[in-house]
Symmetry: C2
Subunit: 596 residues, 2 copies
C-alpha cells in the first residue's frame, strides 16, 4: 500500500521534512498547514519540490471549526475554505482534512452539521478537492468516528468522505470493529499513530505523546485490518505529534517512521517481509579501544583467556566458557576510550536475518575484509552498534571463528570458574532514539520487549526496557538518560552469567580487580527486609554483591570498575529470576558516580 | 517557622544534597531512605555531617506497607521497623514517615489498621521515635487525610500522629478546611509541594510533576493557613519529585526551593518580608558586546541616537523617546557575541526593592563603580541577568543617568518617529530554570505571571510565559527551549513600542536595515482568515509585518535581523491587545532559522 507521513511528524523546515520523507522511502506526505505558512517556498515551488522527490501530496491539513455554526459564521468559513482550495489547486493536493469543530460557536445539531459539510463539499468539488471529515477525540459535539461517519452518510455528497485516525479512535476506547460497516470508498484517508497508555487529558496526550505504530500500547495493526475489510485502498499515513520527534533530526525519524509502517503492514498481513530468524545466543561482544591494556587486565581478572587472534586485523579473541569478547585495537578505535561497538548474534540463518534487517531499513555494513575472511552478514542498529549475524561452529555456514588463529595456552591463563556465558548486554541509547531502538530490536531481530522501568540515577531518571528472545539467551536492556551528556549513564556493560557469583567475585578481587564498592547502608536495608543465613550478608558486603528477588527466584550480581565507557557485571540467576536487578540500580549508579 | 527540604527534591549524592540545603539556609532535611542507602557515609557520619552544616534531621522517610495486614505479615513489618528505628537512633532522627499501605495484602479494616499502627508506635516509643502517618493519594484503603487522621485518632497513641502533604490533599480535591479540626500537636509533620493542574494519573503526576509552592496551580498557602490554625509548630518541609529537578544542579534548586518557602510564608502571614516596590517601567536595557559596530548600526537604523557616554566606563547611551539602550564594550563582554546582560527597572523605592530581592536570596551585585558614580542597587536574576533598580530623573534619589555625560546632537542622528518606549524584553531562560524564573519575577519583583503557552519552533517546542506589572509598563516574556543548545531559541530580544509600526519598519528598511522576511504563504493565510483594507496586506508583506488579534485589539509587529544573541522587535499595540503575537511565533522562528 501507499505510505505517507504528515510533515508535522518531522522536525525542521518544510524542505528538510520533505527530503527526509523521500529518503526514507515514503510515497507521499500530508502537508501540515503551519509548515506551509512558515515556508519561504511558494505552493508551486513546494509542488515541484515534492515531484522532484517523488512524493505525492496526499493530504492538506487541517481545516478547523467549519460546521454546525450560525449562517453568518458559516459564510466566513466558506470564504476561508475557498482561499484554501485555491491554495490546494496551486499545491496540487486533492484531499483536505476537516476536523470536527471545537468552536464555542458550534451547536449540537447533526442536520445543520451535515448540511454545512455538504455545502463545503459543493465548493470543494468546484476545485477538484475531496473533503475528509474526521472526529477529533475532543471535538465539541462530534468526537467519535461513528458520529463523524453518520454526518458524512447523511450529507451523502460525492466529494465528502471520512478520515479515520487511530489515535482519536483508540484513545477514546472506541470499538474499531464497526469501521467495517463503512464503505471503503467513503473512507478518504487513514491516519495512523500509536501512543503509550497514559491516563491523562486526551488533548495533551495527543499533542505531546503520540508515537509511531508499534511503539505505544494501541493495537494499530488490528484497526488497520478492520479498515482494509472495507476495501479502503488509500494511503497508510502517519500523523504523530511528539515532543521528542520535534527535537530529533528529521532523517532518522523518517526512517524510524517508515520502519514502523513496514512492520505494521507485515502484522496486518498487507506485505510480506523476509521472516525473522529467531536468534539463539550471543556469539561475542566486541570492544574497540586505543589502549587494550586496562580492558585486557580486566578480562584476565574476570577469568577470560586470550585464545586467538584475527589473521588480518589487530583483533584478539578472549574466551571463558561460552562467553567471548573481541578486543579490537584497529583504526575504528575512537578517541573517547574503550567502547562496546559490536555484538555477534547467533542465528540459524544469518543471511535471512540480514535480508530482513535490510528490508526494514537497517544499513547493511560494508564488509571490510580480506578475500580469505569468512563472509559475515552485518547491519547497523539505530544507535550505530554493529550487529554481526553469526553461525559459530556450524560447518555448513561461514564461521567468523575461522578468521582467527589460536594462541597456545599459557600457564598464566587463569582457570575458568565453571560455566560462563553472556547473560545480557546493556546498551545505553542516544537520548532521542529510545522508542526507535525498542521497535528495531523487536521488529528487525524478533526480540520481545519487556515492561519499561524508571530507574533513579542521582543526576536524573533513566528509562530502561529490556528486549529478549524467548529462552533468555539473548537479552539487551536498552537504557536512556533523561538528558544528554552524562557519561556514567551512557556507559554500556556486558553481564556474565556464572553459577557461583561469590566465587567469581572473589577471584576478581584476588586477581587485583576492583569490584564496585556498595555502601554498608544497602546491606543494613537488606537485613531489615529479608532474612539471610549466617555470614551470607557479610560475604555480599565484602564483595559488593547486590541481591534481588522476584516471583520466580533470586538474582545476585556485582560490578567491575569502568574502563572507558564499558564495565562488566557478574550475575547469578537462580530459580528463573527474570529481571536485571532494577531495584538495585539506584545504589549501583550512585556508587559509579562516587568513584568517578 | 522552621524550614526543611526532603533530600529527594535535590539531585546528586547525599553529601551534595545536604550541602545545597544548608547553603540555601534550610534548618533541616527529610532524609529519603534511598539517598541514605546509596551513600557511602554511615548513619553516624551523616548525623555528624548534618550537625556540621547546621541541619536538623527532621524526618526519616518513607516506611511503606505497614498496616492492616495479616498477623504474620505484620510481625515481619515490625521486624523491618525495628531495624529502621535502630538506624534512626544512629542517625539522630526522631520522626518517621509511614505512608498508607498500597500492598495487595492490606485489608479494608480500620480497626485492624489502627491497632497495628498503635503497635508500631509502641515499638517506636522504645526508640524515642514518633510515627507520622500519611495518606497517599493512591493508598489502597486509606487515601484521604481525614481517613488517616481518623485512624490516628482511634489509635490514640502518644507516639502516633499524622503527616499532612499538600500534594496528596489538593491533588484529590479534598477540602483543606477540616484540617483545622485536628489538634495541632497530633500533626507531626507538614510536607509541602505544588503541582501544575494536569489531568493525569495521580501517581505519575506526583512522581514526575510536583513543583515548589507558587510554581504550580494549588493554593498551598491557603492549606498552610488551615494547618497553622491547629497550632502546628513543626517544620514547613518541601517534598518535591520532579524530573527536571532530578537533573538540575542541587545548589540553585535548593535556593529556588527556599525562596518559594519564604514567599509562601509571606502569603500565609507567617513572616514579613520587605514589601515589593511596584515597578513602573524599564529604565534601560544593556547590551554587552566585543564589537559594537553591528549593534550600533542596528540602533541607528531603528531611530536611536547616541546621546551620552559613561564618565568612567566604555558604555554608551542610545535613546529614542523613552526607550534607552546601553551599549557596553567593557571587560564584561563575552566571547559569544552581543548579549542582553542587564535591565534597568524603574522603582519608586530602589533600595527597598533591593532589600526585598536580597531577603529572597537574590545575589546582590557588587557595585563596581568609581567613587563619583551614583550608588545603584542591583541584584542578579536566576539566569544571571543583572537587574538595576533605578529612579531615573528623580532628583531626590541617586540617578544612573548622572553618570553619563551628554554627547552633542549631530546632524547624522535620524529624527525619532513619534513616541517610542520599551514594550517588552523577551528573556530566554536556561533549560532547567523556567519555573524558578517565573517565581523569581513574581515573588521578588512583584510581577504577575500570565498563562503559559507552547510555541512550535521547527526544532522543538518552546514554552513561554510572560510576567508583567499591572499597567503593562514592565513586560518580560520568559521563554525556554525544549532542549539545550539551540542558539536561535536562546536569542533574547527587545521589543520597542511605536505608534506607527509601518512607518518605523519603513524607516528601518530605508536606513539599510534588514527586517526579517516573512513568507508570502503567511499573508495568504491572513487573507483567508481576516479582511483587510485595500493594499494593507501588501504593505505588511513588503515590510515583514505580522498581524494578530485578541478580544481587546490588534497587534502588528516585525523583527530585525539578529546580532550576536540579540534582536529587536517593533510593535504596535492597538485597542488594548494583551499578548505578544504567540500565534505568529512559529512563522517568526522558522524565518529566523532560515537566515542562519
Amino acid at each position: 500500500m501507499r505510505t505517507s507521513i504528515a510533515t508535522v511528524s518531522l522536525s525542521g523546515s518544510l524542505t528538510e521534512k520533505l527530503t527526509a520523507a523521500a529518503r526514507a522511502g515514503f510515497d507521499g506526505v500530508e502537508i501540515f498547514e503551519n509548515d506551509l505558512l512558515a515556508s519561504p517556498l511558494t505552493p508551486e515551488e513546494i509542488r515541484a519540490r515534492c515531484a522532484d522527490l517523488g512524493l505525492g501530496i496526499d493530504l492538506y491539513q487541517p481545516m478547523r471549526d467549519i460546521e454546525a455554526v450560525p449562517a453568518a459564521e458559516f459564510a466566513r468559513n466558506l470564504r476561508r475554505a475557498r482561499h484554501k482550495f485555491e491554495l490546494m489547486e496551486r499545491l496540487g493536493a486533492d484531499t483536505v482534512l476537516v476536523c470536527s469543530s471545537v468552536s464555542p460557536l458550534a451547536v449540537d445539531d447533526d442536520a445543520l452539521a451535515a448540511e454545512q459539510l455538504s455545502a463545503l463539499a459543493d465548493l470543494a468539488q468546484d476545485f477538484g478537492v475531496r473533503v475528509a471529515y474526521e472526529a477529533l477525540a475532543w471535538g465539541r459535539h462530534v468526537s467519535t468516528y461513528d458520529h463523524a461517519w453518520h454526518l458524512v452518510e447523511s450529507a451523502d455528497h460525492p466529494a465528502l468522505g471520512t478520515c479515520l485516525d487511530s489515535f482519536h479512535i483508540l484513545s477514546r476506547g472506541s470499538d474499531p470493529k464497526p469501521i467495517e460497516d463503512i464503505p471503503g470508498e467513503k473512507i478518504f484517508f487513514l491516519q495512523l499513530a500509536d501512543a503509550p497508555l497514559l491516563g491523562m487529558d486526551v488533548l495533551q496526550w495527543s499533542r505531546h505523546h503520540r508515537c509511531f505504530p508499534g511503539q505505544g500500547g494501541f493495537d494499530v495493526a488490528g484497526l488497520v485490518k478492520h479498515v482494509l475489510r472495507t476495501g479502503y485502498d488509500g494511503p497508510l499515513s502517519l500523523e504523530v505529534f511528539n515532543d521528542v520527534f520535534r527535537q530529533a533530526e528529521a532523517g532518522p525519524t523518517a526512517v524510524d517512521a517508515r520502519r514502523s509502517l513496514l512492520i505494521l503492514q507485515e502484522e496486518a498481513g498487507i506485505e510480506a517481509l523476509p521472516a525473522p530468524a529467531a536468534l539463539t545466543g550471543v556469539a561475542f561482544a566486541e570492544l574497540v579501544t586505543h589502549d587494550a591494556e586496562p580492558v585486557v587486565a580486566l578480562l584476565a581478572g574476570l577469568g577470560f583467556a586470550r585464545t586467538a587472534r584475527h589473521r588480518g586485523k589487530p583483533v584478539e579473541l578472549w574466551e571463558q566458557g561460552e562467553a567471548r569478547v573481541l578486543v579490537n585495537t584497529g583504526p575504528a578505535a575512537r578517541r573517547d576510550g574503550t567502547t562496546l561497538a559490536a555484538i555477534g548474534l547467533e542465528s540459524p540463518d544469518p543471511a535471512a536475518a540480514a535480508r530482513r534487517a535490510e528490508a526494514l531499513l537497517a544499513p547493511v555494513l560494508p564488509r571490510r575484509r580480506a578475500a580469505e575472511d569468512a563472509p559475515l552478514d552485518a547491519v547497523a542498529a539505530p544507535d550505530g552498534t554493529e550487529l554481526f549475524l553469526c553461525a559459530t561452529d556450524r560447518p555448513e555456514l561461514p564461521n567468523w571463528r575461522a578468521d582467527f588463529e589460536d594462541i597456545p595456552h599459557t600457564a598464566a591463563t587463569p582457570a575458568p570458574l565453571g560455566s560462563c556465558r553472556v547473560d545480557h548486554v546493556a546498551l545505553t541509547q542516544p537520548w532521542h532514539h529510545f522508542d526507535e531502538a525498542v521497535l528495531f530490536h523487536r521488529g528487525v531481530l524478533g526480540l520481545d520487549a519487556q515492561e519499561s522501568v524508571d530507574v533513579a540515577d542521582p543526576y536524573g531518571l533513566l528509562r530502561s526496557r529490556a528486549v529478549t528472545n524467548a529462552d533468555g539467551s539473548v537479552r539487551f536492556p536498552l537504557t536512556v538518560g533523561a538528558a544528554p551528556g552524562d557519561d556514567t549513564a551512557h556507559a554500556r556493560h556486558i553481564a556474565l552469567a556464572t553459577d557461583d557469583v561469590v566465587a567469581a567475585a572473589r577471584r576478581l578481587t584476588e586477581a587485583g580487580g576492583r569490584p564496585l564498592r556498595i555502601p554498608a547502608n544497602y546491606y543494613d536495608d537488606l537485613a531489615a527486609r529479608l532474612e539471610f543465613a549466617d555470614g551470607e550478608l557479610e560475604t555480599y558486603r565484602d564483595l559488593g554483591i547486590l541481591y534481588d528477588r522476584d516471583a520466580h527466584g533470586v538474582f545476585r550480581h556485582c560490578y567491575t570498575h569502568t574502563v572507558g565507557r564499558v564495565f562488566f557485571e557478574l550475575v547469578q540467576r537462580d530459580g528463573g529470576y527474570q529481571g536485571y536487578g532494577a531495584a538495585n540500580a539506584p545504589v549501583r549508579l550512585a556508587a559509579q558516580h562516587a568513584v568517578r
